[in-house]
Symmetry: D2
Subunit: 341 residues, 4 copies
């Protein structure tokens, strides 16, 4: 950590910073510049927090040198993490296509979708049972009935399943019925939920909150990893932007950006990011070209009748077209598209 003193900082203020560094078990290293005194703290930076110094008199700014996450970092784990989800390998040089409806509305609707997306080449099945809705007056999902449908249809289609958990009290049920637990964007900093998930031995897909920096995103992954669960998939799904012709702004550079600092697999969800059906396929293709290790796409047999997110769900035909274009792009970037068994 580097502590930059104000131009007018006194000797005593410099001493106080040195003392605090020593109190934390580190070694101070003072460097007197022409305009500023700069103090380095040498040792294990994880023992310090920037705010411990920023609050001292005479300090202008504090610059951490190390990333605040460890287990999520490539420094800690150089090789790409690869996670087994059923027969599917997630991460590394593979590409996983997850598809399914926004909400599980009925056994028929979900079954029809599952068979269609499998036919088109999806290897994992998504479907919401507990739905986080902005409005208390909107459809809130089928709950545990939905989970049962998810599991049954997943088995029938031979596809592992993923669904969102919204509350610690539902975690046990979600973990029982689904193969991958999804933490939604709004719960990315629900730290209690992250901690509980960390105690499980179950793959998790963690979505980025629309206002989270990449560092905050990785710190939330760290909450799960720190409890022992190392099967974390990260998913970019759009950040809050100022142009409302799309629902969110898909931050695709986050893909190679995260992959540079972390070993965890990175997925992209173009459906929630754009909120517009006609933008989903171009963004799914772009995600794979950018190096994403998975895409998660909403597909509904009759989007115009969907109980939620109709405008952004692809019809099965459109999804099949997208899958055809995806394959050569995966090849072009040296990745292997996972195939259904």
């Amino acid at each position: 950590m580097i502590i930059v003193m104000q131009a007018r900082a006194t000797e005593d203020q410099v001493r106080a910073v040195e003392r605090r560094i020593r109190d934390l078990g580190l070694r101070p290293h003072v460097s007197q510049g022409e305009f500023r005194t700069i103090i380095g703290a040498i040792g294990d930076e994880s023992l310090m927090r920037a705010e411990l110094f920023a609050a001292l008199d005479g300090v202008e700014s504090v610059m951490p040198i190390m990333k605040p996450y460890k287990l999520a970092s490539r420094d800690f784990h150089a090789e790409d993490t690869v996670i087994d989800v059923g027969a599917c390998k997630v991460g590394g040089g593979t590409i996983t296509v997850v598809a399914g409806p926004c909400s599980i509305e009925s056994r028929e609707q979900f079954r029809e979708t599952a068979l269609a997306v499998r036919r088109a080449g999806a290897v994992m099945l998504r479907g919401g049972a507990y739905k986080p809705r902005t409005s208390p007056y909107s459809f809130q999902g089928l709950g545990e009935d939905g989970l049962r449908i998810l599991q049954d249809v997943g088995r029938e289609a031979g596809l592992p399943t993923i669904t969102e958990v919204m509350d610690v009290r539902e975690l046990e049920a979600v973990a029982r019925y689904a193969d991958v637990i999804q933490v939604g964007a709004r719960n990315m900093q629900n730290f209690r939920l992250l901690t509980e998930i960390g105690h499980l031995e179950k793959p998790v897909l963690l979505k980025r909150n629309p206002s989270a920096t990449i560092e905050e995103f990785l710190m939330s992954a760290e909450y799960i990893l720190a409890e022992g669960n190392r099967q974390v998939i990260l998913c970019e799904r759009g950040i809050r932007g100022f142009d409302h012709s799309t629902r969110y702004t898909l931050d695709l550079s986050a893909v190679p950006n995260i992959q540079g600092v972390s070993h965890l697999p990175v997925f992209v969800d173009p459906s929630h990011a754009t909120g517009r059906r006609e933008l989903v396929a171009p963004m799914a293709l772009a995600a794979v070209a950018a190096g994403a290790q998975g895409v998660m796409v909403e597909v509904h047999p009759h989007p115009e009748k969907a109980l939620s997110d109709g405008p952004q769900q692809l019809a099965p035909d459109a999804f099949a077209v997208m899958m055809k274009e995806l394959a050569p792009i995966a090849g072009a970037v040296g990745r292997q598209l996972q195939k259904p068994k």
Copy 2:
């Protein structure tokens, strides 16, 4: 709701929209412009969701006419809501100053702060027992021990108390010990938690999420109101911005903006918004000048030793200076600064 058809929309597509409007129990009203066909849906808009139409073929855009919230709206409840918290009236023409440390660190630290802020004129006491921290390696709060200190010290100082709840499982305890339950910015869309709080008869302070629009913020309030709990205080605490010389960007125009559409009291937290001690007082004064009905400020007897948020906590002296400047500003905008009993 207004549905705008694409320039090339067919007769059949227009019919399909009309049919869906009728299916929902509303009346369609087609208006053939020179360039576009426009269809109004007349009746109770709350029966419709924009996405039910946006997913139909030939539809270019859907424009809601009504706000999606009701109980939070001034259309529903024209008068300002005033909430009794102990002897303190929150909302309407009053100004409530809440102060206290970021975290309750010990009985002594909290007691010292409580007495100091009361002396300076604060009428409510804040202090975190459960702390949402970006890093799993940071101090996470004293938990239920902290709640007990909160209650004891609040009684001793004669000030009602407020503290944050992070998890449904802690809600009962928080509601037992504190006078106002705080929902933090990261939990603004933790819909399960909001629903549970809605079942209580207890004042709630709901913080705005850094990426939430004002409409989304009011929809989260609606979750609580819809369950029966009408004692909701809104709190602006900074939105995510692009200039990182402050922690967040305090959106002060949200104060009169929300007050125009909602009857709920609006508070401002300048400490979390700016993250910098020297900006807290100017922003607290500005908040009151803008019409805020309360400010919530972090005060610590020794900010340089704080276990969390040191750089943004005021020392008791600085808080007392701020209180002196606040009084004439309250008067200038025709508001009454609540006084401790």
Copy 3:
């Protein structure tokens, strides 16, 4: 245009709106809903401005139905615009790769780069002579000397050239020496400059301002088109975001989003958007997968010695690798990579 009246709007206020619509030569169409009166204005919306109504008493909101741009719109010109730049066709189903250094630093440096990028497959040559720099103390470009080098080297390499104009007084010189005039992001709303460029018969590449909505971007294109110059290329180069691990946030969904409403070619500049060399190639590939009709990439023979933007310039080898990966992606989305003559 749809004018929504406030719930408490009076008859007189409704009349005043109707009168103003008629004064503008349009026809009002009043629709009395259950909760709101809504007034449509039928006729040529370009005769109206929303603000003419928003300022009237009793008006709650005004919703334009038509896009505010015409010449830039696909409604006006359904087919993709294709622009001839030397032998190069820009737009439609083609992909144009533009490359070259951030700044022209010397004849040798520019010549070396030009030959290298041509060898790797670039079909247009970029290089800055007038440089917009945040700091007055930074290298400001070689000016007209740079323009001469641009022209000479472009001819020698057999590549058309593009360079930025910063001021109306330099426009004549830039237009004389270069094949395409670039308007930088900071000048996207320099309306005087846009108007002057509109009088020329010369292709223009207009970069999106970091805080411009897509509608504002197209309105700036409209300034050029309205003066008669129809050879406008649009270029996404990153919007202002909150995560500063990249310089800007590349908004790739802008590509299909713009292509849906406009016939103009859309390019992407991943170098300025990310500011980091290792993210340039992934984002260039993603741009083409998303449907971009061109990419503009900074290449420098010795990035570590560059006088500007060193960290984001590719070395010629890295550019050649990128070009190899680009070709199959272009094919996968049915586009044709332009080849140097």
Copy 4:
């Protein structure tokens, strides 16, 4: 400047950084931490640019210690700058209220406004002659005729005047007719224009671009200061935000934030920031409470007939009410409201 090397940086890469520091005439200072090598460059940081190091192999990040601006900095000029504009003192402990219509539409309209705002207590008169409009089809201002009206009416009302310049070619005329030259938000990084204004001896009001950081804003001021013109007033007018219920997001914490690092006067324009009449007065009051040294407010005798920005212009009555509330707030923060002669 601090250069942080990558964990895996080689000895040779460290040497290369040291060499470059020496080449620039500075002194390297290597500090070997447990996890990273860190190199300080001691000496005049203005001789270096971060990008010169960021482009070197093995470098992880570069952290500047000094601000990149000098003349705008309080380090250079500790006392508040006070600028004489006619009898009006701008900056320091004074508050300057500037008012007038968005556009000068006619001599009568401007005269009526001028007399009304003077009566209510404004000490400076604004009015646009050259209007930057998003659409080429909107009213573009009266041009030089407008400038003549500005000067005549200003003299008659006894108020100094301010108007915007959009183009270097109009600069001479604007400087001749007006007392203060305004650089609009869209031209904040029109570096040629800034440089030309730097050659004049005339006060300038520089507006912040909606996507500019505070550092970028001060760098633009530096362009003017560096040419010799030291009479620069800064004006916050809203940054680009994600909630479109206001036109922009007014960043009021920018006021004390800038005042902490710069000696230049800081104004606030609540009219353009909010775009909504009912939010203008609360935000003007808040600006003064936050420490702004001036507010600039749009006033129109008949806002509902304005040729531009009708929805955000105050009627003279509303402006007079605002002025009455402003005075005690100025007093509360120890500032002196300038009075018309």
